[in-house]
Amino acid sequence: MTAILAARLAWRQLLSNRARLVSAIAGVTFACVLVFMQLGFRGALFDSASNLPRALQGELFLVNPLTLVMFRPEPIARVRASQVLADPDIALSVPIYLAQTKFRNPETGRQRTIQLIGFDPEAGAVHFEGLEALTPALKRIDTIAFDRRSRPEFGPITPRLEQSGPFEVEVGGRAMLVVGLVALGTSFGADGNAVMTETNFRRIVKERQPSKTDLVAIRLKPGADAQAVKQRLTTILPRDVMVLTGPELIAWERSYWEKGTPIGFIFGFGSLMGLIVGMVIVYQILFSDIATHLKEYATLKAIGYSNHYLRRVVMGAALMLAVFGFIPGFLGSIALYSLVAKATLLPLAMDAARAAAVFGLIFAMCASAGLLAMRKLGEANPADMF
């Protein structure tokens, strides 16, 4: 009951100075948007890093244990793909070739690095959106499918294809026919993707030994237990390959970006700066509210209100600012996310877990500002009232 009365007093006090209230809410909103954007970029980075492993849809994968990140793979022996077929639960195993090479923008002539992904599209282990319809065309010599979600710097590939059908582009110094589009998505490691058969891949990347591949995607028979198969493969296979489940491959790719680069730290640091700025603003507001009402607070103490009650008033004000600053910050961030996602083609979107996390951070930010401001309450001494 007293908590409600203290909160009501805090609310009335906040409302009494509209200009101060608005600037306090704006401060919290600003901090909120800043943290949302930093965490959004961070999440988009890690999500986009795992675009490729997610799209591959294998249940198990073989990779070289020395591989750090998928755009720079260490090769593995191609024969491992055939060897795992000995396991009765394995239905398919498809070698996947990965390399980065130059792609010449057909309009401007400028070159840009593109991610090449080569595999047998007929095997059915990989299901990029749009791939199935293109399989017959891709089987022809010197053909590729272009990722429609690649960055625009590669040129107007999509409109040109839709307008006038297949046309030639220069990939890795070789003329290749773009026969269609798949949907995959960019990542921090790759601005765009091109998909092709194993044979066509080797025609572009000539230095590759035919006995080596980069990744093997394995599909299991229905009802098979991925963990059990992984256990069996791990004991049978030599140590030059590592067996990962689909989620493990995604996590392993993410962890490179999280731990192997300063990017995670940078965005974390950016969030912290936002929170500190927000805390200083809220502290200033609460502090000046207490300072201007010091006599009234001392009077309340004199007529029998405890320090505890007044601390609740200050904390109530802090937490109200958290809530009222978060709401516009949250809505604004959703709008900014879609704006930035359009501009960068990064998978930037609001999700409930992040919203909850940011609310927690903003709440903690306002609470610590409240705790700091409370120290000023000690100066409200009722004995000085007379």
Partner: protein
Amino acid sequence: MSSPIALSGVSYTYDKGDRPVLREVGLTIAEGEIVLLTGPSGSGKTTLLTLVGALRAMQSGSCTVLGQQLMGASEAQRVALRRRIGFIFQQHNLLGFLTARQNVAMALELDPASTERDRLARAGEMLEAVGLGAKAESLPGQLSGGQRQRVAVARALAARPGLVLADEPTAALDRQSGQDVVRLLTDLARQRGVPILLVTHDPRILDIADRIVAMEDGRITSAPEPATGPAI
């Protein structure tokens, strides 16, 4: 029933000061008695008032207020005692963002058993009693100095205190409104039988008192006991 205020041998020295502001003060106030405390500045009257009001911790002597011994009392005991005392200050010290009615109701919110409806109704009655029924929904900024001090009187009496302590309540007011406020305060206190200890310099209000106690240099120099002896 013992006396609302009974002091004996109370001495007090400020941290920084080298000489005591109160020396062996003894003072007793009877039920319903209105006592003025006068004396030159620096005589220790305000210090005495803050000790009686449990706003300051005692150093030595004995001070019993509304049955609570304040020597050695804890902060919680002092806060609890303050709830039973009505305070009136030189400045009105009303919360500027609350209406007159809400300000008076603040004195009632300390009682956990009260309801919002009762508190606002009681606050309204108190404002009627000080002649401000029509101004109940005004903010302090919209009231005159005398009106604000009357709201402060209403706040001090709203929670049915066992004692009212006032410190120069007329100091910030012009002659007429100062007299009005003090008469209002004493009239309401007499109707309710509430004793008042009022510190003042103001010679114009000396006639309202049952007894005038004079202080000088930390000592009480006249009338420390009720004329009829303490009511025991």
